[in-house]
């Protein structure tokens, strides 16, 4: 070719130069392929370009595969997450079980609450005393208060023997005679040991079963007086202010004075009168029982036991369940 074609050659060279690389990869059109081959045959510079390019690609292809310095498998991050997730998941499950156990315990304790609430009971007692005690003709409220707790305890036990009298009513009735009976107990014991032992509860009970709460307050020595009043008492179930005062003084006096003698006869008299008084007093007693019962139920409103523990466990459970959920979400949607 003549020198005048150098310009065209240069023009061609640059055009071909861009095609050299695709040509080596065989991604050129047939026309382009022909162009490159034709030009390379004629142009030494472009031929050399093609040659050196081919060598470079060859060298790159011969670059050896490098060995991995170690395995790149995942361990620590995933495992750590799993362990934490597992911990909170297990903690949540355990807390659910604990909560259920507490709940069961609450239900169980709740059903046995009424017998197990002496504290609140004695608290309410002084308030009710004037009424009930006036009915029963018990000794001064002070005396009863001081002996309230032991009396209540004894009273709680006292009614067990009696079939009819409601538990809640019994203690009240038994309270007064009990306090008196305590006074007379040593004396009664002196008189008749077994009788006294039985007599104490017996004294409490027959008077309790006797007509009115008032009558129940009268201890054995007062049996006679009590018997006298038994008919009177049913007639007037509502507390009469006069009666307590009436009852208290004579009873007190009678109690101390007639203690020894009264114990025996009183017991017998009481037993004799018991059925009578019982019949008479039953109606009134029932009426009183109901009113007392409501008062007592109100007084010993049973709390939900273990509530604080349940709340605590519930809060812990919410936290653990929340943590479990967060970790689960992180694992899944990282």
């Amino acid at each position: 070719m003549s020198g005048s074609s150098d310009i065209t050659q240069d023009g061609k060279c640059s055009a071909v130069e861009d095609l050299l690389s695709p040509y080596l990869d065989g991604v050129v059109t047939p026309a382009e392929k022909a162009l490159v081959e034709e030009h390379a045959a004629a142009c030494p510079r472009c031929a050399e370009e093609l040659d050196s390019l081919r060598f470079t690609v060859g060298i790159l292809q011969k670059l050896p595969n490098v060995e991995v310095p170690r395995a790149f498998t995942l361990q620590a991050p995933a495992r750590q997450q799993t362990t934490l997730f597992n911990f909170f998941r297990n903690a949540s499950a355990t807390l659910v079980a604990v909560l259920l156990v507490l709940f069961g315990g609450s239900l169980y304790l709740r059903s046995t609450v009424p017998q197990a609430m002496p504290a609140s009971y004695s608290r309410t007692l002084p308030a009710e005393e004037p009424e009930t005690l006036s009915q029963s003709g018990a000794a001064g409220p002070q005396r009863l208060e001081s002996q309230g707790t032991p009396a209540v305890k004894a009273a709680a036990q006292a009614p067990t023997g009696v079939a009819e009298a409601p538990k809640k009513v019994e203690p009240q009735r038994a309270l007064a005679p009990q306090s008196d009976a305590r006074e007379q107990a040593p004396m009664a014991a002196a008189a008749t040991a077994p009788a006294a032992v039985d007599g104490v509860p017996a004294t409490a009970q027959p008077p309790a079963t006797a007509a009115a709460p008032r009558a129940a307050a009268k201890p054995s020595p007062q049996a006679a007086t009590g018997a006298e009043r038994a008919p009177v008492v049913p007639a007037e179930p509502p507390p009469a202010p006069s009666s307590p005062s009436q009852g208290s003084t004579p009873r007190l006096k009678g109690g101390s004075a007639e203690g020894t003698v009264g114990a025996d006869t009183a017991a017998k008299a009481e037993f004799a009168q018991a059925p009578q008084a019982a019949r008479q007093g039953e109606v009134t007693r029932e009426q009183d029982a109901r009113s007392v019962e409501t008062r007592v139920t109100q007084a010993t409103e049973p709390r939900w036991p273990l509530l604080e523990a349940e709340i605590g466990v519930g809060v812990l459970l919410a936290l653990c369940a929340g943590a479990t959920l967060i970790l689960w979400a992180r694992r899944k949607y990282f």
């Binding site: 470079t56 790159l60 991995v68 990282f334």
Partner: protein, 202 residues
């Protein structure tokens, strides 16, 4: 030149299991692809430590993101992650001018496959030196060109596969490859190690 089958049926189950958080299933994928990923990273970064870090980051990131893998080539998806990891490291290298290219490169070429028994130790040493030269030459290339050259000539991917990995169109792939090869050729021409007929000074 190695052939790379694009989508293996057995992989689909492993990918699905991995998406559910099964690290054992994912680790099987790791073992399958770690050589490829590490080599691409090594050729990109010229440094075995950086390459190891990039590889680990790639697999950790892949496990986290595997939920978002919507099918297609898992290999291409994985290589895209390592490519981005390498780009990030190259950018941060530039921000630290004190670190020269020489320092960034390994002092020695990384351990390779058993050397050719047909040539003598001198030839092996020469060869090793030459291979180091080639790696230095790769290091002079622009990031995008370097990646395309590595994927095409070192790893044997086709233009279409490279387009899928890089997310670029065919024309861009063609021009990047052409430019990268030419620049590397020009670098090699300056060295005595290059065969005389290709050298600038003959």
């Amino acid at each position: 030149m190695a052939a790379h089958p694009w989508l293996l049926p057995a992989e689909i189950d492993l990918v699905k299991a991995s998406a559910k958080g099964d690290t054992d299933a994912f680790n099987q994928l790791v073992l399958s692809y770690q050589q490829l990923v590490y080599n691409v990273a090594y050729r990109m970064l010229s440094n075995s430590e950086d390459a190891a870090d990039a590889t680990q980051d790639t697999f950790i990131s892949a496990f986290r993101k595997i939920d978002s893998f919507r099918g297609g080539s898992f290999k291409a998806w994985l290589l895209k992650i390592v490519a981005n990891s390498c780009y990030d490291r190259l950018r941060s290298r530039k921000r630290r001018p004190a670190l020269s290219l020489e320092a960034a490169m390994d002092s020695e070429e990384a351990p390779i496959d058993p050397p050719d028994p047909t040539i003598g130790p001198e030839a092996i040493a020469l060869k090793r030196e030459f291979l180091e030269l080639v790696q230095r030459g790769l290091d002079t290339l622009q990031g995008e060109q370097r990646l395309v050259v590595i994927l095409s000539d070192v790893q044997g991917f086709s233009y279409d596969e490279i387009a899928e990995i890089t997310g670029a169109n065919l024309g861009t792939v063609k021009s990047r490859l052409s430019r990268g090869r030419a620049d590397l050729r020009d670098f090699l021409k300056q060295s005595e190690l290059t065969p005389s007929r290709f050298r600038l000074n003959k």
